[in-house]
Subunit: 360 residues, 4 copies
């Protein structure tokens, strides 16, 4: 039987014992999730393990964290919609075609009107553990999302709204995201906030703290790394521990607070003080990025299914491992069968101790 | 005895019966109010009652709604501070000198670093009832206020923080204002939100609704006209009546909601359903603008003094009348003695019915 | 008899002996001059001889160097046209009305389309000899002049085209001015280049040198101070004397090169090495600015009339003296009768030595 | 024997009879050519002959027309320098390394200081004859070249200065190019102007006409297509024939005027009315772009060598054919031996009629 560590009562417990997350989704709504944020292009070198200046050949993939999560959720049979702007060129065609092929509803993805371009992420894979990125993010399509693109009916048709923090980095996307948050509150739509901090486009740390706090305090689920929580909490209470952060946001109304530890796994905090920590599944990684979006899509799948929190964590962690072993992100998102088969294999080889406690 | 109309129980009641506003100020804090927003220059024609293109001579006054309110409060013996940026030129010198002469603390008024200029408002006074303005608001000093200019200690030293909605119209002033709001919440400082909508610098009505709502929902006192409330409520619940608006914001936590009716007076809503309406004091007006800032400063004076709401309204309305009879704004702000003498005079002439009910 | 100094043959000579300027104007063209550049508003304090921060009352005048020159030429009975953009507000109304009243053709003065404002110049008059200015030049009307505003037929209808160097400071006005220069060359219209350097809007000294040189090298008449010539010549030959500058530009094709020495007068260089220097006329000045535009308009009047160069200088210098004694600029431009009466008066009092040699 | 058509005397003539171009280069100068303009990245699909939205793999090449020409000249053993800005990232590293490997002097190639990125050109190769491009040109490295980057000594060390018209499209690169032109005139350095019109960054056709004319009128060699000459001549004399264009620019001082006819070859006009037309060499082309830069580098090689104009044309045309048969541009630039071997092969197969007359 699979076990995981509860940091609350300092003991392992079987997943069957794990409490249900404190979230309720309206089953009558046709869409499982509407995501808001960037759609971009990844250009990953075929001849990797050398500097980006040396690499000569690049593979083009659909990219952008919320776009990847939408594809991940779709492959897990969840019906997603998306608020976005994509370029009025062949790359915009590509993004729309990919979304359609994956079954994502594209009725709220609009074309840019002023020559904005899809962001490009050239990834430098120096080794399985070292990577960097070279971004083209000027006059960028995703941040041209306008408040007028956001409609209440579409939000109300979804069980949840996911907002990527990167969408808050600049106007008019910032106001579009804040409008979506206001309409989600109005329509009783739980908000999932993926802090998703990228050091582009933001002008100051105060700005990050102001806007991320404004959204996090209205969210039902918050996802982020320790660094991302520190940025979000910088004005109101800097220096909190993970448990303090979780309590702070749950005080504001969050049902689930997830803190990701990168290669060390992640911890999820439910209300009433329960928390679970999971370590990454063992895998031979090709690169050090891409896991987060696999994690988020599988974790949110579990939440939407009403799974116990520990099961959500397990699924997320396994998906993350599958992703870091792949050359790209969106096109390599696994199905539920693939993740579960992988989990079974790992358990046979490594036993039940795949997930265990983590004293922060 | 002075009477005013309660729209709640549909009867006149004497001011002595009026309930106390539901606001508490920390008497131990040295500053009565810190204001955040624009400091500007008014240029009012001496040869008025003709088109601005015809007027040839202009008087220079300190201007900008929150600057005027700060001067008004100072003349009423309240100690004010101010978060602002002023130009690094002779007009910035002028603004600082005026503030100092009035006793406003200028320790948080900084000079602009990139050539920004103080806004100019050329007023066109066509008749006592018709006016318009010609504004210079490009590369403007007030909207260059930065989040880094805002410090928690200063906010915590004040009994209340007044935020002018115009400060939300553009970055980086927008983030500075939102940071101040976040720090006011953290330090338990009641927020006074003067919606103060000006059709400059804003990019869309969605933008106005998003940001004004974000501040209003955290405020203890909200001041605005019907049009301003409509703009603020556009996304969440358009078309509310005054009473519905008051209830909506009080639900969010506001203690006092004031709705100004221009030449027809104003209504203040306290918690628990009590409201008072006052008509303007009779006056021979020179121009149709400037009354609002006199109103706000005197009304807030009353609140800070813990006066009954109806008395606050009366003082505000009298100050407004004195201002529309004057050639400018800031330098013509009355003292308490002047307002009270004016009220006494009006009562002798017009009786106790100066203020009366208004069925919206 | 009036005498002036020829720096060429180092002797005084009577004005009658002075050679004709090497310029030919097409008498058949209906307009005497089309000017291109800024139209602005001057706001001069009535309570001057103190800091601008102290002054409380301002007079509004039409301003902007080429606008002043156009008014000056009109009062001297020359028919002027103008390429400009003015604001779509009451100040734009004012500027157009002033031009019409003075008889300047306004058919090529267009309204700004994107909220640009007329520039404002608040003048600080500290003493008869000390002054400074506070300028509002953001999102400025004059620099919004577009290439599409410039038409060949209008240029071809004028005896000369005056380009103010300030129009070169920023796009799209820069391209509009360069287009006008190209069309002036095409249509055989002599170009008068008033370097008119203002340290606003320009980004670097290289930029100034590049553009001013491009226009000066195509001009028939160049007007500027030593500092302005230094800026214009910085890339090609820095450090020239006045005589060397004159020779350099005449080599490129200029017929007349005028170097203004501020309070010390000015020197005009004709082709073939002849030059004349004039000192300012004696006057009790009110302020230290405004003389240049009086000078330029009267000097150009003389050139258009085909007067000897020394007579042009004399008229320009007298007009300059009248202007520094006045409170403003455009509305105080003198008629020919007024200048000539003033010259006669000066001569009676001070004799023929009003103008004399100046060894640079 | 090789023959080409002279449009002047309407007869074929042998290359031996062809007159020398009217150009003189200072043999004592160490650099053969300094080029000014864009350095960029080409991303050409490996899986071409389909839409760019379908292509999944891209090869990265050094790109940008003047960069390609510099590489071409280097492979022809000419010593080149370059004025440019490249990004402060791995792509900037790549560009510098490529230049160094090819022997181009990089002492005047500076890194961008404000996050500007190298331009990206994704090429869509639909068929051998159909192509389009998707460009990333926002906040672009090449147009951030500053006037301060241009020094007189470097220009004076070169036999010629090549200016790419694209450098004129925007400030501050525009002023840098104009400064280089002014310093080239000062130092007696012949200017080669490659009009190189790209419909990006330019704001209006007037703007193109103004700036391209300003440079072309000072150039010794002008290269462009009929469309590019039309744009350049739009203000001064629209609708000229090729021969009229050549005469117009030679009147202004040009020694050689080249008009490129795309797939139909090109015509070169020397002074004194002589002209030569060449058709493209037969080749199985892979794509329809890239030929122009091969053409320019080989043609300029001939000019620098003092070859007869017809020989220059022949070499240029052969190089162009080799380039359109290659997958990329810069890395496929041929050596002299390769071009000459290709020419010999073509002549053996097709005889002397490779080049022939073209009645425009």
């Amino acid at each position: 039987m699979f076990k995981c560590w509860s940091t609350n009562n300092h003991s392992y417990q079987t997943l069957e014992d794990a409490p249900m997350p404190m979230l309720e989704f309206d089953a009558a709504r046709p869409l499982d999730m509407v995501l808001l944020g960037r759609v971009a292009i990844d250009l990953n070198p075929e001849d990797y393990y050398q500097s980006l200046s040396q690499s000569g050949t690049y593979k083009k993939y659909l990219g952008g964290s919320p776009a990847n999560i939408a594809v991940g959720l779709s492959r897990l049979q969840k019906k997603c919609g998306f608020f976005a702007r994509v370029s009025a060129d062949q790359f915009g065609d590509f993004a729309l075609r990919e979304f359609k092929r994956e079954g994502v509803d594209t009725s709220r993805i609009y074309r840019c009107a002023h020559g904005e371009k899809l962001g490009l992420t050239f990834t430098e894979i120096l080794s399985p553990n070292e990577s960097s990125i070279l971004m083209y993010r000027d006059n960028i399509a995703d941040l041209s999302l306008e408040p007028g693109d956001i409609d209440e009916a579409y939000i109300q048709s979804a069980k949840a709204l996911l907002v990527s923090g990167t969408a808050l980095a600049q106007s008019p996307s910032r106001e579009a995201a804040l409008k979506a948050v206001q309409l989600a509150q109005k329509t009783g739509t739980p908000i999932v906030f993926d802090i998703d901090y990228r050091p582009y486009n933001w002008k100051s740390t105060d700005e990050i703290a102001v806007y991320c706090h404004l959204v996090a305090e209205k969210s039902a689920v918050v996802l982020g790394s320790r660094e991302e929580y520190d940025l979000t909490e910088a004005l109101v209470r800097p220096g909190m521990t993970n448990a303090e952060s979780a309590a702070y946001w749950q005080d504001k109304g969050a049902g689930v607070v997830v803190i990701k530890h990168g290669k060390k796994g992640s911890t999820a905090y439910a209300k009433y003080g329960t928390s679970y920590t999971v370590k990454p599944f063992p895998v031979k990684s090709l690169k050090s990025f891409g896991g987060g979006d696999g994690y988020a899509s599988a974790f949110l799948y579990g939440l939407l299914e009403g799974w116990p929190l520990a099961d959500c964590l397990e699924l997320g962690s396994a998906s993350a491992s599958l992703l870091v072993a792949a050359h790209g992100c969106a096109p390599f998102m696994p199905t539920l069968q693939e993740i579960q088969a992988y989990i079974r294999g790992c358990k046979q080889e490594y036993g039940d101790m795949v997930a265990h406690g983590d004293a922060e």
